[in-house]
Structure formats: structure tokens, C-alpha cells
């Protein structure tokens, strides 16, 4: 019955892998002389798995025993799978030893519900205390709050963790009722609201919080999903929303049965749209409108928006403000900064943009450079869309070292 430590690791990391949150960014450096561990503002990826995802934190469940029966979850009580549990001390010991070897930035701890919500939360708390007090560990710790656990327990977790989260999983109450009968949106959001209020009492900067939405298991449109994210960001409740393409792990009459492949492209487009909300000053109803409630899979959301708002283009890059520049398809925050820096010294032409290594593949249809507009394609939605999605003649392009930025997306 007793499993060895390797088997436990195998089972409990396998059970945690569908949680996509991985970031370790957004905490200011906090090291103390004579202690162990520090967080790094931009976050650090320590390796990448075979599916290309970054490993930043030791992401495991404390246990995969669970009393709940959520349809989409691999650990639901009605599933006949191998179960295991770490003791708090065991998990703390592994975390410290992984950290010292520079395998990880810290711990991402989540858990199935064992015995009761409070009991589970207490076990998590015990792990945190060992790490923070015995090992004097200042690295990153992300805790998945257990919905329905006692406010006092949540309060103590918030004091010790770097970030907390609680997964909404399904974008509407109706879907939750159908697929996760033991959860409601209110119940899921309750610990987050509580955590925000507690951390606001102590300082003016609330603890970072995030959530995860599953995409493709239920019928909501991209507009529904982005509206929900946008509301959560506006209320300053969350720092990040993660989107996870639905991967069938269980058979259930209420779930879409035949999905050959997880909707990875849709997930990707949602992330792009999410970035527009957080860093590019877009509102959700600019990106997805009432009569186009879903994102276009062929085009990225910014290009999609630009094509639907061609009356704002072309934009003269020598005059546009930073806010206008970052709304041009293909020009990101870094590109905008380069343009602003370079145009102080001269009026920029197309070839100057190329020399500055700013990609104009998409941007060229939407800009004026010193009064000049590209001549190949007229400024009509259909023409530009066709030019953008028609595959180019395959040229072998030498990959450029500067383009493969591992920190893309971090600003």
C-alpha cells in the first residue's frame, strides 16, 4: 500500500499537470541576507517539457484523493485511478532541494479535497510554515485556495504565499451546475474576494491572484469568456486569467464526447486577446462584438480588430502616439518603443523600419511611412485579409537569434 517517493511524485505531478498556470513573475525581489531564496520580477523558466510548456514551479498536488465529483476532472472521486499523498514535510523537503539545485523558482501547491475543505487547507498551511519558518525560504509559493475553507485559514495562507488562485474552470453558472455539481461561481470566487480584502488591509498592494477557465468543454462564446476576464481584471480581483483547451480525461454524458484534438488554436487566440486587454488598452467589446462573438481562427485578434475598423487606418508612424502605435497589427510594445526612439532623429521610411528589425509583414498594410503607403494591396478588408492569410512562397529563412526571445510577453 505504501508507495515510494518516486511513485508519489509521478502520480501527484501527473494529476496537477492540467493546471496551466505556471508563471513566477510579478513579485519584486525580496532576498534577505543569511536566508534562502528570492523571487525574480520577470519570472524564470527552468526548463520546457515535451509539450513546450515552461517549468517554473514544482507543480504538484499534495494529494489526489478527492471527495468531489467534477465531470471534467481526472481526480474526481468516481474515477478509478491510483491515489497518493505527500506529507507536508516530504513536500517541503523536495521543494528546498529542487530549489537549491536551480530546478525551480518555487512551489505551486494544489490539492484534492481530503476529508474536508478545512483539513486540506490545514495540510497546505503546514507545508507553507515549514518552508517559510524552518527553512527561511523566500522563493515563490503559489497556493490554490480551497473553496469553502475557513476564513482564518485563508488569511494565514495569504500572509505566507506569493500568489493565490482559485479556478473558476467554467465560464458560466449553468455550465458549472451541469459539470461541477459541488461548485458554484460564488463559491469559487469567495476565497479570492476574501484574499483580496485580507491583503488590502495589510498593504495597498493586493496579493497576486489568478484563475483558470476551461475552453471548449461548454458552449460559451469567446465574447462570454473575454467579458468575464475583463470584469475580473477591472475589479482588480485578478492579475491573470489562464485559458486551458479542454482535454477529455473522462467520459461523461454532459461533456463533448468526440474531440480528436484539444482546441489549441482557440486557446492561443484567447491568450492573444487577453494580452490586448491587459497591455494594449483594448476593451473586450472592441475585440469581440455582438455580431462577431468569436475570434477569427485565421487572424490574430489585433489584425481582426484592425480589419473591422479600417476607417482608423492607415496610421502615420512618424506622428502616432504610443497608444496608437501599439494598436497597429504586427507592432508590439517593443516595436513601438523603437519607433518612438528612432523618429526623434529622422523621419522614418519603410526601409528604416526594416533596418530597426521591426517586422512589417502585417504592419505594412496599415501604416504610412513619411506619407507613403504600400502600393500592392488596396485598403479594403477582403484584399488585406487575403494577402495576410495566403501562405507566402516558402523562403528558407535563417532564424535570427534576436527573434527567439524567451521573455516575450513579459514587459
Amino acid at each position: 500500500m505504501k508507495k515510494d517517493i518516486y511513485a508519489k511524485m509521478q502520480i501527484l505531478s501527473d494529476s496537477a499537470k492540467y493546471d496551466v498556470s505556471c508563471s513566477s513573475s510579478g513579485s519584486d525581489s525580496n532576498y534577505k541576507t543569511g536566508e534562502l531564496g528570492a523571487t525574480h520580477n520577470s519570472g524564470i523558466c527552468h526548463t520546457f517539457t515535451a509539450d513546450g510548456r515552461c517549468v517554473s514551479l514544482l507543480k504538484v498536488l499534495l494529494t489526489n484523493f478527492c471527495i468531489y465529483d467534477c465531470a471534467y476532472c481526472i481526480n474526481r472521486v468516481s474515477n478509478d485511478i491510483e491515489r497518493a499523498a505527500f506529507s507536508p514535510r516530504e513536500l517541503a523537503d523536495i521543494t528546498i532541494n529542487f530549489y537549491k539545485r536551480n530546478y525551480i523558482e518555487g512551489l505551486f501547491i494544489s490539492s484534492g479535497i481530503i476529508e474536508s475543505e478545512d483539513h486540506t487547507m490545514e495540510l497546505i498551511l503546514r507545508t507553507l510554515r515549514i518552508l517559510r519558518f524552518e527553512h527561511k525560504f523566500n522563493g515563490y509559493i503559489h497556493v490554490k485556495l480551497i473553496p469553502g475553507s475557513d476564513a482564518l485559514l485563508i488569511e494565514e495562507v495569504v500572509k505566507l504565499a506569493s500568489r493565490v488562485s482559485s479556478n473558476i474552470e467554467l465560464p458560466s453558472d449553468a455550465s458549472l451546475k451541469l459539470l461541477a455539481p459541488n461548485k458554484t461561481k460564488e463559491k469559487v470566487l469567495q476565497p479570492l474576494k476574501l484574499a483580496r480584502d485580507i491583503s488590502l488591509e495589510r498593504s495597498n498592494k493586493p496579493i497576486g491572484m489568478s484563475t483558470q477557465l476551461i475552453v471548449g468543454a461548454s458552449p460559451e462564446s469567446d465574447r462570454d469568456i473575454l467579458k468575464l476576464s475583463s470584469v475580473l481584471y477591472d475589479k482588480a480581483l485578478l492579475k491573470r486569467v489562464y485559458y486551458s483547451a479542454y482535454i477529455p480525461v473522462n467520459d461523461d454524458k454532459n461533456l463533448p464526447s468526440i474531440i480528436n484534438k484539444p482546441p489549441l488554436l482557440r486557446e492561443h487566440r484567447l491568450y492573444q486577446a487577453d494580452w490586448l486587454l491587459r497591455f494594449y488598452g483594448f476593451e473586450y467589446n472592441e475585440i469581440v462584438t455582438e455580431h462577431k462573438p468569436n475570434l477569427d481562427e485565421e487572424l490574430d485578434p489585433k489584425t481582426f480588430w484592425a480589419l473591422n475598423n479600417l476607417h482608423l487606418f492607415p496610421i502615420e508612424i512618424n506622428k502616432a502616439s504610443k497608444e496608437e502605435l501599439i494598436r497597429i497589427p504586427g507592432i508590439g510594445v517593443r516595436g513601438a518603443f523603437k519607433i518612438i526612439k528612432a523618429r526623434r532623429f529622422k523621419r522614418l521610411k519603410f526601409e528604416d523600419l526594416v533596418a530597426l528589425k521591426i517586422s512589417i509583414k502585417r504592419a505594412k498594410y496599415f501604416i504610412l511611412c513619411d506619407g507613403v503607403f504600400q502600393k500592392e494591396i488596396p485598403l479594403y478588408e477582403d484584399h488585406i485579409k487575403k494577402a495576410l492569410i495566403t501562405p507566402q512562397n516558402k523562403k528558407s529563412i535563417q532564424p535570427n537569434l534576436f527573434d527567439v526571445s524567451g521573455i516575450t510577453g513579459e514587459i
Binding site: K17, Y31, T49, I94, N97, Y103, P262, L356, F402
Partner: protein, 243 residues
């Protein structure tokens, strides 16, 4: 003329001095050992401490902190031929610091881009470096990397491994960053016998590999993406890629 120097910062600064006061014009600057064409007119740089210190002082006085640091970082990109661009950068900077913001100038743009790449390599390495625990609990990491990021890495880890003893060993450059109670900084390493691992080292490497394998989601496998994010160059000492 083709200038030859020994690759040291002092020699390069001496050369800058000569360019200014001896009015030599250069087509290219090469490190010792680089190939030289038969009919090249050579200018061999000899380190002159007075000259190099004078230039260093002038740089610190005239250049903004950011621009001065850029020069140091470019010098750490020791596998690149940055010399002519750096010379152009320094000459421009002595005329006007403001002009160094003009990224339309090729040599300035190139150095900005090179510095960005330098930070990129450093950032990747700060995640991909792997320590192993030795019998005396010292943490030891081997490093093989394109640019000389050792000193930056050493400082990075002095925050997070503040109460530990550790050594980061740059194998090819024969340097090591040592962090103990007695000494913190970069040292020359002539030869080195690998000490023995601690008793628990194997256990944690095995646990790490177990974890690494089991968190990957089969139905999302994407090896091409993995090759982009962890290029083979970096994998030499990452145990999860070496079974």
C-alpha cells in the same frame, strides 16, 4: 590597417588611446590568433596601463552609467567580432552622449541588439544552470555558454542562495564564481578534480526526472517548440535531457 590585440579590456582601451592620439585608421580589429591575410598591414597593440587607465577614466566621466555599462556588457560577448562597432560607439559617445540614443546609426543599433542578446543568454542561463550537491554540501554547477555571463550569474545566485556555499564553473573560459563565507567573486581555475556527490544527490536528480517526464501532456506534445525554447546548446548539463 589591421589591429591585433590580446582580447583584454586593457588592450582594447590602449588601442582606443592610440586611435585618438596616433591618428591611426583601422579597417578591422582582430583578437590574437585570428586569421590574418598575407599582405595586411598590421598594428600590434601592447597593453599600456597609463593609456588604458586614462581612457577608462574618460569613459566613466563622459559616458552615462547606462552607456558605460553597455560597453562592459559588449565586451563580455567575447565570441563576437564587436570591436569595430564598439570603437565607432566610443568615438560617437565622446562627441555626444545624446547621439548614442540614435538607433538609426548601424553601429549603435548593432550594439543595442547585441546587448539585448547578451541579456537574453544570461536570462536563459539563470534558469537552465544546474547545481549538484557535493559531500560537503557545496553546490557546484558546470557552465558552458556563448557569452561570458559568469559574473552576472554569480550575483544573481548570491541573492537566492545567500546562505549556501556554491561554485559556478565556466569550463571553457577556465573561470569560476565562488561564493563562500570567506570569498565571493570570480577566480581563475587551472585544473579541477570533480569532487564526489552528496548521498542524496542521485535521489533528487531522479525525482526531478520523474517530475519532468510526468508533467508533459501527451496530447499537446510539441517537440519543435521545445527545441526553440531549450536549444540543444543549453542542454549539456541539464539532467532531464540526459537519460
Amino acid at each position: 590597417m589591421v589591429a591585433i590585440y590580446d582580447g583584454s579590456f586593457e588592450a582594447f582601451l590602449t588601442l582606443v588611446h592610440d586611435v585618438y592620439y596616433k591618428k591611426i585608421t583601422l579597417e578591422v580589429i582582430k583578437k590574437e590568433g585570428a586569421e590574418i591575410a598575407l599582405f595586411d598591414e598590421l598594428y600590434e597593440v601592447r597593453v599600456d596601463e597609463q593609456k588604458s587607465e586614462a581612457v577608462l577614466e574618460a569613459l566613466q566621466k563622459k559616458f552615462t552609467k547606462e552607456n558605460f555599462e553597455r560597453i562592459l556588457h559588449i565586451f563580455m560577448c567575447d565570441t563576437r567580432d564587436f570591436e569595430m562597432d564598439l570603437l565607432c560607439y566610443i568615438v560617437t559617445g565622446f562627441k555626444s552622449q545624446k547621439e548614442l540614443q540614435n538607433i538609426n546609426t548601424p553601429c549603435i543599433f548593432k550594439l543595442h541588439a547585441m546587448q539585448k542578446e547578451f541579456f537574453h543568454v544570461y536570462h536563459k542561463m539563470s534558469g537552465f544552470l544546474r547545481f549538484e550537491e557535493l559531500v560537503d554540501e557545496t553546490l557546484y554547477a558546470k557552465l558552458e555558454v556563448k557569452y561570458n555571463v559568469l559574473s552576472l550569474l554569480g550575483k544573481h545566485f548570491s541573492k537566492r542562495l545567500n546562505n549556501q556555499n556554491y561554485i559556478i564553473h565556466d569550463i571553457k573560459r577556465e573561470l569560476a564564481f565562488v561564493h563562500t563565507k570567506e570569498f565571493k567573486g570570480v577566480q581563475k581555475v587551472a585544473d579541477f578534480d570533480l569532487p564526489t556527490h552528496s548521498a542524496s544527490e542521485e535521489k533528487f536528480q531522479k525525482l526531478w526526472k520523474t517530475f519532468f517526464k510526468s508533467v508533459a501532456i501527451k496530447s499537446r506534445e510539441n517537440k519543435k517548440l521545445q527545441r526553440q525554447t531549450v536549444p540543444f546548446l543549453y542542454r549539456t548539463y541539464m539532467s532531464e535531457f540526459n537519460s
